[in-house]
Symmetry: C2
Amino acid sequence: MSGLHAYKGHGTHNDFVLLDDRTGTLDLTGAVVRGLTDRRGGLGGDGLIRLAPTRAMAENDRLALGAADPEWFMDYRNADGSVAEMCGNGVRVFAALAERLGLHDFAAAPLEVGTRAGVRTVRRTSGGWFTVGMGVGTYPASPEFRRGGADSTVVVDGLGPQPRAALSVDMGNPHTVVALADQDELAAAVLLTAPLVDPTPPDGTNVELVVALGEHDTPDGPVGRAVMRVHERGVGETLSCGTGACAVALALRTWAGPGAPDRWDIGLPGGQVRVTVLADGSVELSGPAVLVAEATIDLGSLDPR
Amino acid sequence: MSGLHAYKGHGTHNDFVLLDDRTGTLDLTGAVVRGLTDRRGGLGGDGLIRLAPTRAMAENDRLALGAADPEWFMDYRNADGSVAEMCGNGVRVFAALAERLGLHDFAAAPLEVGTRAGVRTVRRTSGGWFTVGMGVGTYPASPEFRRGGADSTVVVDGLGPQPRAALSVDMGNPHTVVALADQDELAAAVLLTAPLVDPTPPDGTNVELVVALGEHDTPDGPVGRAVMRVHERGVGETLSCGTGACAVALALRTWAGPGAPDRWDIGLPGGQVRVTVLADGSVELSGPAVLVAEATIDLGSLDPR
C-alpha cells in the first residue's frame, strides 16, 4: 500500500498517531489530522504528534523557544485538528520515536524537544521509561488557604451531595485536586460529567480525585504512593493525564506538610508514573512510552471532514 | 519493526483488525485478540478478522459449511477474544483484503467465504462496493400480527413514556424494529441504555429505530429510502449493524404492504448501505469496504490481559 508512513503509540494509554516528518515537508491539514485520529475511520488516537525539524516550523510555533534551538520539534495536534502546546505523556512517546528512528542516542545525552510551550528535556531512565521536565507548579490560592489544604470545594457525582475540600494547582493548565477517603470512594465516583467546582475557575479546570496510600522505602529514600482518577476539562474522564499526576503529587506534598517525600508513585487507570519534585520546585514526570505499530496509511481512504 | 503483519479496515465504520494468515499457521489466543483490538493499547477495532485457509480451521469451526469447501475462511473474533459466527460489515472488508492480497479476482467470479454461520457469497458491485448474501429473514410473530405491523412495544428513552408499536425480525440474530415519525424524533432518541421491549425476547434483542423517507426512482426501478439508528444487544449504540439494516428493510416492506420496493437505501450513522430482497425471500446487503492502513505490530508491546 503506498501512502503515509505513521506509527501508533501510547504513554500510560494516552494514545497517539505519530508521523516521521524529519524532512519537514508534510502539509498537515486539520482534515488529515481528524481523519488519522478517528478511531473507526482512521488509525485512531487521542491526538497526533508530528516529529519535524524545528527550523521547518513557522515563526509563531517557535515563539516559546526564545533563543533555544533544539533540532526536533513536537508538533502536537488535538484529535479535532487544532494545535496544542504540550502533552506530558506524548513527549515521552515522541522521545521513543526519535530513538527508534535513530535520530537521538539517549545513552549519550538527554533530548531537547521543541514544543509550543518551550523546550522540554527528556532523558531515558531505568526500565525503558522516559523522564521529562514539566516545569514549576504554582498555587493560585493564597498561602493561608494552602496551609488549610483547601481553596475550593468539589461535589463529585456518586459520592453524595456534600462538597469536599479541594486544592488548586496550576501546571500551565488548571487542576483541582480532591483527596478521597479510600479506594472504594475512588471506584464509586462517577466522572461522566464534570464535577462541580466552587468557585468555578474562569477557564474551567481538570479535576483529580486521589487516595494516598502511604509511603514505601526504596534505596533512594521514601517514595509516596497514591492512586487517582481524572476528569479532563472539555474531554471527560481519561485513562491518564501527565500534568494531572504532577498536580496530585504537589497537592499530596502540601497536605503532608514538612518532611513529605519528594517522589511519588502515582497509579492512573492507564498505568503507573512517577513524579519527582526537584530542589528548585520544578517537577519531573517519569513513565513508559510504547510504540505499538508501524503503519502505512492510505490517505485517500480517510473520511473527508 | 519486526512483528505481526496486520491491516485496519472498516465497513460503514464498523472497524476491524485484519490478519493475513493465508498459511494457517497463526496461533491466535484470546489475549492477543484483546491486545490487538484495544483502542489505546493496540491497533483498535470492534473485532478481529483472520483470513485463513478453510482446511486449517478446526473441525467444529467448519461444521456449518457441510459439504461446501470454500478455499478461505473468515475467522471472526469479538474484541473480548470470543469467537463469533458472522459479521455482515466484516465480510465485505474480508473480501477487500482477499482482493488486496491477490487471492481472488472479483472480475472473474464471486468469492465464497467460509464462516461459522455457513458459506457466504460476496461479489463486487458498482462504485467499489461489495454485496453479500445474508440469508432469509424470518418473523417470530404470527401472520395476523404482521398484518397489524406490530408484535411488541418499545419504550425509547428521550421520546416520552408511551410504548411504541414494534415488529420483530430474525436475521439469524434477533431484531425489534420501531418506526419513528421523523428525523427529529430519531435525533432525540437516547440509546445510552437498551430500550425497553415488551415482551422481552428470552435472549434479548437488537433494537432499530427507523424513519422512512419515501422512494426514489432509479434506472432499475423504485428504491425505498430510510435512515436508522441501532442499539446492539450487549454492546450499546453502534455506528452500523449489517443484520440490523436488513431487518429494517424487511420491516419497512411489511409495513408498506403489496407493491413495496425490493431495494432499500438505508442510512446509518456510519454510512450508507443497500438492502435487496430477492424473489426467494433472501436478503442481500451491499456497502463499502475500506482498508485504511497496513501495519506491522510489535506483539511484545501489547497489554497482557
